[in-house]
Every structure is written in structure tokens, then in C-alpha cells.
């Protein structure tokens, strides 16, 4: 009997220490940091909350005392929290760094917002986890630095506007911020410290406007992000409060997908801004077509050699003229870079005739090819003129020189 009473007393004390009811999952769940606790489908070892099919109809509060904390949430089976998840401090607000992980693709759904509650550097790290948040509020003051890291295939969805100072996506991770229907349809608020890194295996879907808090920091400039935009995307300046990402045709892009394996999303009628540290390259390709004329020239001598008996010599009343069959060279640039085509003629070393040749266009720059406009590729045509007098013994076509087209 004493043992039974002692056991019941222990349960009561444990309940008081942890401030939760292990079996009251339709209430808020308050976990005292540093103290372990467990309940149906959840357990807390003092720093890591493990959810295994939990369905908590309330908020999850981490009682952190008087110091900043690192809080881990491990989801081993699909779990949901209907309220918010946040850290509570005694008297002051401190920084909290969240880390979410999952096993076997288990999904953690927080209908409410994940809030840090602190006023300094705060981080949410989604490390391979599948997490859906009703909201995300790191850096309560808005001016504090808040970092979001999604890595190792993590998939984070935030169904509300988000204010962040730093986002990092890597290792086939995915971030979705869907603010459609929220106030102002703004998906992402950026402040002056905004930094973005994203590898080409990861994806980001932003449904809604992107708001720049430029008014808070005049140094902020969207133009700074332009070099990081993916190829084929340009930024068209909108009004003072947002910038629109449009494609090369001027159509807005409501989603941006990077990485071959990234899924596509749908969204319409919302402006999107994305900044990425783009690692995609566009290799230079040089392909220049050279079309040769036959380059066959005929020297025709006509007129007469008139005998001057007084001087006992001939008076040359003849004229020589060159005619050409195919004396043109046409160069067409199919490269994705501009090139310079040069044309030159060199007399064959065995030719002693006083022959020279020159092109009417010695050098010309050709513009890079334009996507979808193969037939209108920039081209240059240069015609070769041969001058001088050919040896009359060359009554059949013989090589007199070489023309060369050089591409630089």
C-alpha cells in the first residue's frame, strides 16, 4: 500500500514539475527544458521532443527559463499540433534555435505558427524533415536576425507570410512559402540583411508578393540580387514596395523551380521575387558556318598588240580583266557569343605572277545568336577581288593562292 501511495505521489510530482498532463493531449503541452517527460505518442528527453503519431490539440510550449535554448523536434510518424509552438522565457526573451528532423519521411504539421519569442539571432533548421507550418516567426522584433536552413532533403512549407534575414537551401531541399490569401498576399519579407544561398538541387516556391523592407534600410537595393537570378529570368522594377520576377517574354513567374528533380507548383496572379546564388552556368558555344564560293577566277586578255614599224616595236593596246565564279565567302554565327570574322588572301608561294587579292570586308563582328532565331543569325559576306596579270601559260585552272577565314 505504501508503495502504491509513493508511486501515485511520484506521478503527481512529475506532473507538477513538467506542468503537463501526459494523457491530456487536447490541451497545451508545456515542456520544461532540461526535464524529461513522456506521453502518448510523444516524449521529451529534456532537449528533444519526439513525436510519433502525436495529435496535440493545443500549443506546444517550451519553458526555457532564463537562457537561450536549442530545441529539437524529431518526428518519427506523422504528427500534428493544432496550436502554436514557441519558447517561453522567464522575464526576458532569449534566442532559440529550432531543429526539425524526421524519420521515414514522417510529416510534422503545425497548424499555428512556430515562434521563437526571442529578440536576437534565431534559427530554424529543417534537417531532412518534412515540416508544414501555419506560420513562422523568428526574430520577434523584426529587426533581429533570423536564419532559415533547409537541408538534406528537408521540405518546409509555411502557409503564411514570412519575414527572414537569411535563407539557405541545399541538398535537394525544398521551401514553399504560400501567402496567398494572407494579408497583402505577401510571401516573403526581406530586410536589409537578407542573404540567400541555394544550390541547383533545391527548389523554392513562393506564392505571393515579395516585400522589401527597403524603407527601413536605404542601402537595400534589389539590383544587388540581379546577378544571382537564374538564367532566363530578369527583374522588372515594379512600384516602390515590390519587384516582379518575369521571364524573358515579360510574363511574370509565379514559381521558380531549380533542380531537375524539383516538382512544379501552380500559382497565378501573384508577383514573386526570388534571389538565389545561382550556380547554373551557360557554357560558351562557338559554331560558325562558313560557306565558300567556288573561288575560280579567269583572267581574260583582249585588244591588240599593234606593230609600230617606225619604232620597230609593238604598241600594247590590250586590256586584261578578271572574272570570278563564286568569289564570296559567307560566315554565319550560330554561337551564343559574338565573334569576329576576318578574311584574308595569300598568294601561293609558287606563283611568280604579280598577283594580289583583297577582300572588300576584311573583318566584321557578328552578334551572338538569338534563341529561336536560327534563320536570322548574324552573317557577313566578303567578296575577293584578284588583281594583276596571270601567266598566259595557265590556260587551265591552277591554284594561285588560299583564302582563309579566321574566327576570334
Amino acid at each position: 500500500m505504501k508503495k502504491l501511495l509513493a508511486f501515485i505521489l511520484s506521478l503527481v510530482l512529475l506532473t507538477l514539475l513538467c506542468g503537463v498532463s501526459a494523457f491530456a493531449l487536447d490541451e497545451n503541452l508545456t515542456l520544461t527544458y532540461g526535464a524529461s517527460a513522456s506521453g502518448e505518442n510523444w516524449s521529451f528527453d529534456g532537449s528533444t521532443l519526439t513525436l510519433s503519431g502525436a495529435n496535440i490539440d493545443g500549443s506546444v510550449i517550451f519553458s526555457c527559463g532564463k537562457t537561450g535554448r536549442s530545441i529539437s523536434v524529431l518526428t518519427t510518424a506523422d504528427s500534428t499540433v493544432s496550436g502554436d509552438m514557441y519558447a517561453a522565457f522567464d522575464n526576458y526573451s532569449y534566442s532559440v534555435n529550432y531543429s526539425f528532423a524526421s524519420q521515414s519521411g514522417a510529416v510534422f504539421t503545425l497548424d499555428g505558427a512556430l515562434r521563437a519569442g526571442g529578440n536576437n539571432n534565431e534559427t530554424l533548421c529543417v534537417n531532412g524533415a518534412r515540416v508544414s507550418l501555419g506560420g513562422l516567426n523568428l526574430g520577434a522584433s523584426g529587426a533581429a536576425e533570423s536564419f532559415l536552413v533547409v537541408k538534406n532533403g528537408g521540405r518546409l512549407t509555411v502557409n503564411d507570410s514570412v519575414t527572414l534575414q537569411s535563407i539557405s537551401l541545399s541538398d535537394a531541399s525544398e521551401l514553399t512559402i504560400d501567402a496567398v490569401g494572407s494579408y497583402g498576399d505577401s510571401a516573403l519579407y526581406l530586410n536589409s540583411l537578407f542573404a540567400f544561398s541555394m544550390d541547383d538541387t533545391s527548389s523554392i516556391f513562393l506564392y505571393g508578393n515579395v516585400m522589401a523592407l527597403s524603407a527601413e534600410n536605404p542601402d537595400y537595393d534589389f539590383a544587388d540580387f540581379l546577378p544571382f537570378l537564374p538564367s532566363g529570368v530578369r527583374v522588372a522594377t515594379g512600384d516602390e514596395n515590390y519587384t516582379t520576377v518575369v521571364d524573358k517574354n515579360g510574363d511574370y513567374i509565379a514559381e521558380l523551380v531549380m533542380g531537375a528533380a524539383a516538382a512544379t507548383g501552380t500559382a497565378e496572379e501573384h508577383k514573386v521575387f526570388v534571389k538565389a546564388e545561382n550556380s547554373m552556368t551557360t557554357p560558351d558555344v562557338y559554331s560558325v558556318e562558313v560557306e565558300w564560293g567556288a573561288m575560280e577566277f579567269t583572267y581574260t586578255k583582249s585588244g591588240s598588240m599593234d606593230w609600230d614599224a617606225v619604232k620597230q616595236s609593238y604598241t600594247d593596246n590590250t586590256t586584261g580583266a578578271w572574272t570570278a565564279a563564286g568569289n564570296e565567302v559567307t560566315v554565319t554565327n550560330h554561337s551564343n557569343k559574338a565573334v569576329t570574322a576576318s578574311f584574308s588572301f595569300a598568294k601561293d608561294s609558287t606563283i611568280t605572277d604579280n598577283i594580289t587579292g583583297w577582300f572588300d570586308v576584311t573583318s566584321e563582328q557578328l552578334d551572338a545568336g538569338v534563341v529561336g532565331e536560327y534563320d536570322s543569325a548574324d552573317k557577313a559576306t566578303s567578296a575577293l577581288t584578284i588583281e594583276g596579270e596571270l601567266d598566259s601559260a595557265k590556260t587551265a585552272f591552277a591554284k594561285i593562292g588560299t583564302v582563309t577565314v579566321t574566327i576570334q
Partner: protein, 177 residues
Amino acid sequence: MKKIISIFAVIAMLCAFSTTAFAATTIDSVTNGSNSDSHDVMAQYNGGVSTPDVYSVDVEWGAMEFTYNVGGTKDWNAADHSYSDNSTASWTASGNTVTVTNHSNKEVTASFEFEALAAYSAITGDFNFASALLPSAVGKTLTDTTLTVTSSLTLLGTISDTLTDFTEIGSVTVTIS
């Protein structure tokens, strides 16, 4: 320095159209040594120049004045009341040569001929060169001796001692062929 990435293989493509006069190739690099393409330039001579024949021959005539000279004596023979003819006769000439010079760009043949008038048919004349082949003047100087022939006329026969003044007895013809 441009970044150079070659993607396409070099395509040496002869034109496959209706003529072989045109050919197309592809240059896919701007790297020195592989950024150019060349083509032979062919030429031929088409001669259409004429060289007309021009004949031009100079004929330089001597005076063609001949004197028949009779010298010696006619000695009286009293025994038979006759003369013994001890005279001698000979022809002397002043300018009995004809000089022909070929300035043509073709060779010519010059022929020389004397013909006496009917009244003096007893007189004959001979040229020491009845004919001569003169080469083309092409490539020769104006003073080239091979272009010139001089033929001299010699008369034979007698004339009356009454022709004490120069009298035409015939003509000399130079024929160029």
C-alpha cells in the same frame, strides 16, 4: 581571353546541292590553331589578244645612172684603107644599188628585176641578188643588218654613141612578197 568551350564536333561538310562550286564548313572554336578555315583560289588565263600583221619595207634606190665608156684607138691602115679597131668599152655606174630593209613584224622576200625598154632590148641587166628573204623585225633593232639586203645592178650590151646624155633605157622593180 574568352572562355572557350567546344560542344560541336568539327563538321567538314561539302555542299550537297546541285553544284560542287560551293562548300560549307563549320568552325566551332576561337582557339588559335583551330579557329580558321581555308579554301584554294584557282585561276586560268583566257587569251583574246590579236597581233595584226604589219608590212613596212624601206627601199633605198641608187641613182641608177650608167655610163657606157669607149676608149682606145681606131688606127688607120693605109695599105687597105681601113681602120683597125683597137678600142675598149665598159659600163660605169653611179648608184647601181637598191637597198631593201624590212621593218615588218613578218618576214618578207625582196626580189629585184631589170627590164629594158623595147628600144634598148639589146641591153640586159643583172642584180647580184635576184631575191632575198628578210626576217621579221620583231625583237630586232633598227640597225640590225639582217633586216637589210643590198642588190647591185650590172648592165650588159652597148648603146649608141649618140646617147651622150642620160637617157632612160629601162626600169628596175623591187617586189616584196
